[in-house]
Symmetry: D2
Subunit: 301 residues, 4 copies
């Protein structure tokens, strides 16, 4: 095949990644903390910077960093979603060459330290490994403005010691796996959900509700495969939260193999397992409503 057409710059974007912003609210003796990792990404009329090295349309990533910190002060970081919307809107509204802005936020959890059974006013211990995520995209100026919000959670590590099987699967010449009707099921979930609309609900309430739903369905679904569990989780979330249009779930199958103790004359009734690192299964599912609005730029990184 002779490829001789002219070379064209197509998609391009730039920004400042991993601004580690920590915001305290200190109006009262009882302080509040928001601990986030913010990345900004701008799209727009930047071809001249790539092709000719002309920076006249390029707002420095250093400026984007400053802005991420400034916006943490005001409007502030009461909720990460509102903060991200404000920050993205700022870039689209005030920076002429910018056609769309995306703000990605990881939000780290902290729990108040307990002293004599009372929560301390200004001391916390880090909770994890799970991380709350948000990805907001704002495109278009003035009346053309559109906003997409994706909420999420990642590194949510779940395990159940029974209530999971894997059997009656397809086999071929390279299949040696024995079917099992009782196994450990463990995963480290990454879930993202796209909001159908913005406003009319509380971001944190929805987040807490989705997290609880994910945990509940993982626990209570008798699992014939991780695929089925993911689907059950996603389905329940969409059913319970009509503000959502779509949900994407990604899950490694973190294998816990029953250790062979029989070779030493010891019975192992699923009690002693080896937690393997690699390889691992990878299962992905997307569920959406038939009447979901278009995703537009929501999933574009």
């Amino acid at each position: 095949m002779v490829m001789s057409g002219p070379i064209v710059l197509t998609d391009n974007r730039y920004g400042k990644s991993e601004n580690r912003v920590v915001r305290f609210y200190k109006e009262n003796a009882r302080h509040e903390i928001r601990d986030v990792n913010v990345s900004t990404t701008l799209r727009g009329d930047f071809a001249a910077a790539y092709i000719e090295g002309d920076q006249r349309h390029v707002l420095p990533t250093d400026t984007q960093k400053h802005t991420a910190f400034v916006y943490a002060k005001k409007p502030g970081l009461d909720t990460v979603e509102d903060y991200a919307i404000a920050l993205a809107t700022h870039f689209v509204d005030t920076v002429e060459p910018v056609s769309s802005a995306r703000i990605d936020v990881d939000s780290y959890g902290w729990q108040r330290v307990s002293v004599d059974g009372r929560e301390h006013d200004h001391t916390w211990v880090r909770q994890g490994p799970e991380v709350r995520t948000a990805a907001v995209t704002v495109a278009g100026k003035g009346d053309a403005r559109q906003t997409w919000v994706i909420g999420g959670i990642k590194d949510l590590v779940l395990l159940k010691s029974t209530g999971s099987e894997f059997a009656d699967f397809l086999t071929d010449e390279y299949t040696t796996l024995a079917p099992t009707h009782d196994r450990v099921l463990a995963t480290s979930l990454i879930v993202q959900w796209r909001f159908a609309e913005i406003g009319g609900f509380d971001w944190d309430e929805v987040y807490d509700g989705i997290r609880a739903t994910l945990l509940e369905l993982f626990a209570t679904t008798y699992s014939k495969a991780l695929q089925q569990t993911l689907y059950a989780m996603g389905n329940a979330v969409l059913e319970r939260f009509p503000v959502l249009a779509e949900i994407r779930l990604s899950a490694p199958n973190k294998h816990h193999f029953e250790y062979d103790l029989a070779q030493f004359g010891i019975e192992n009734k699923g009690e002693v397992c080896w937690a393997a690192d690699r390889p691992y299964g990878s299962i992905h599912a997307t569920l959406q409503r038939a009447d979901a609005p278009e995703a537009g730029l929501a999933w574009v990184p």
Copy 2:
């Protein structure tokens, strides 16, 4: 907005990730090594597994693992691209519910140990951090079969101590950055290139040529911004390798800030820098030929 439409499973896929396959060729006293990390991903008629827990169409990920190792023996791992094409084709051809298969391969470099100035026959030292990558997708059975190949390199860390500036950029109320006409430019490149066709060239030769081109252009391009450097690199690769349809470059701007020694009465002529971790700039560019064939499933994970 009232979302009441039925909930639908849309995109889904599954596979086995990070099979750490090491293949030796031992026909002669002078052994050869291929050290790869292989991930398999299958798409197809798997909805029943998600919705009903019916595994009858699901080839276990354990089987996929076995197959990745079997194919490392034969046809073998002479080149990662041919291996990945063979493995993907196997899944599409022989597993009835599979409509497409994607194989991702990371390939780690090893250099022969030198003893008394001579390369040793069977001992190597690991080279890095750079990693060669390949992503092959095969879709469709029989005459409908299509194959896409993406080559790549990641964790290619480059630095130049001069020949880079950043000035004449857009400013706003949050801009404090001083323009500079001499700075350090450093990045950890991720580059992927899509082949327009398969066959008629040597995979390894093309890889070596692209790597050399990336390094050369990074070194010799006077950089008015990382954007410009990325574009120059991508443009040169497409110009020199007509077998390519498209190239994607992703680059953190790994900031090296001149350390303020003037506060101690010491002149710092760009000699002492602080290599920062976070935040960092993020620059992305895609270049493609105007007459490039459709990307199809090439970039779908």
Copy 3:
């Protein structure tokens, strides 16, 4: 200096590291989980393996792995300390060339998933990042046997938003730091404590008490420096737990720098900070009782 003396093998040891043992207790519908990472290290009469390649005294690390899993079944992993003592004792007692054995255990926390306000019987969500640790050393056979136990916690990330200062410090020609009477104090603690004796108390109760003490003192100590906070924590732990002989604390000073918003005309009353990665302060302290028994092999890795 002319060094011409004979070359001697001095310290040597070997073992199996990072056995990822997961132990379930399934006697009742309400399962229990112990999730640990176990490393075994043996010392003894192994010089011939090093010097002559003679393996006759070398128990394979593969065997040590099996044994770690076997012992998770019985005596089991009710507490990691008793498990580690049993495992170490086994190696010293039954493997003739072994003079001492050390078992290092990391123990990962899991919280029961809550469904409708009730704890689920067999589903957990991973808690972290903090990790409980134990290091047990057993030396000597028969009457000569000695046992040392070190408990610990690591990756315990703490932060207080006020109640911390740093002022009146030593200065020299390279000092530019301004004193501060209100700053964020944050760290990721590693603490290890050596038990003076074994038995007569409950391992888990002591652990919970020490963890609570560390949190309480971090919260309630007005800190003139991280040094002082560490000392206060260590001192309180020793005072409250007479079963301990010694405590070692290691703490990075995870800097949270007040972001300069004044350059944009915005007041920042310690509300917006930048969480830096590197460099970081490193503070270490060891406290022990004047009448502590000899540490012996307790701290030898």
Copy 4:
């Protein structure tokens, strides 16, 4: 055991860790680069800071950071060892409460980019994963001054595809491992060597020679166990470099298991292996000359 003795602060130290210093030499068009990670640790009369929060003896870690950068300018980073000696000496000599200072340096390798077969003047590509290390301790003021230097290398990943066996080992009731007379041997070495004296040789020449010796011995020693290989490496280094007093080697046994292809009717003559992550063997050896000078504070962190 009733522990009632007073609680005493024993060992303590503090410093600034992971200063990422990059030093360029730009006197000529052909620039030079030194890319290092520097940690400073001070010991001395600091008890008041811990016990009473009195900072009057505490030189801020921020000052130590500045000093690490200042010293990169002058005397400079021609060799990491001389830089570290100068920096440590500065702290001991000029900071009254300091009794000893330790400087740890990781040094990252860069290779000049080649353009048209010629090395580029100011562009490099990162080499790794191996890292050169140095640890210098200076103690005592004036005539009492003592200096210890430890050189090293870490993350040196080596693999040989034959010339290694493991057989005739000790067995017990939990041993199932089959002896093998041909296996893959792979490791990621950490080696540290203590210099008997300072001066009279070239730091870089010794480093290059030791690295070459380690590689040569790993390659050419027929290995009956990783223990034997480590000993052979350490012994050769001490024999060839009389300026060294002691060497410590630490090596994971990175297992490469022959994949069971026989279950599919395929012969595997050690050609297809699985590179496992965890668990791994851990082998350690220390060799020193019988007439080595005392280690003093050399190995104290």
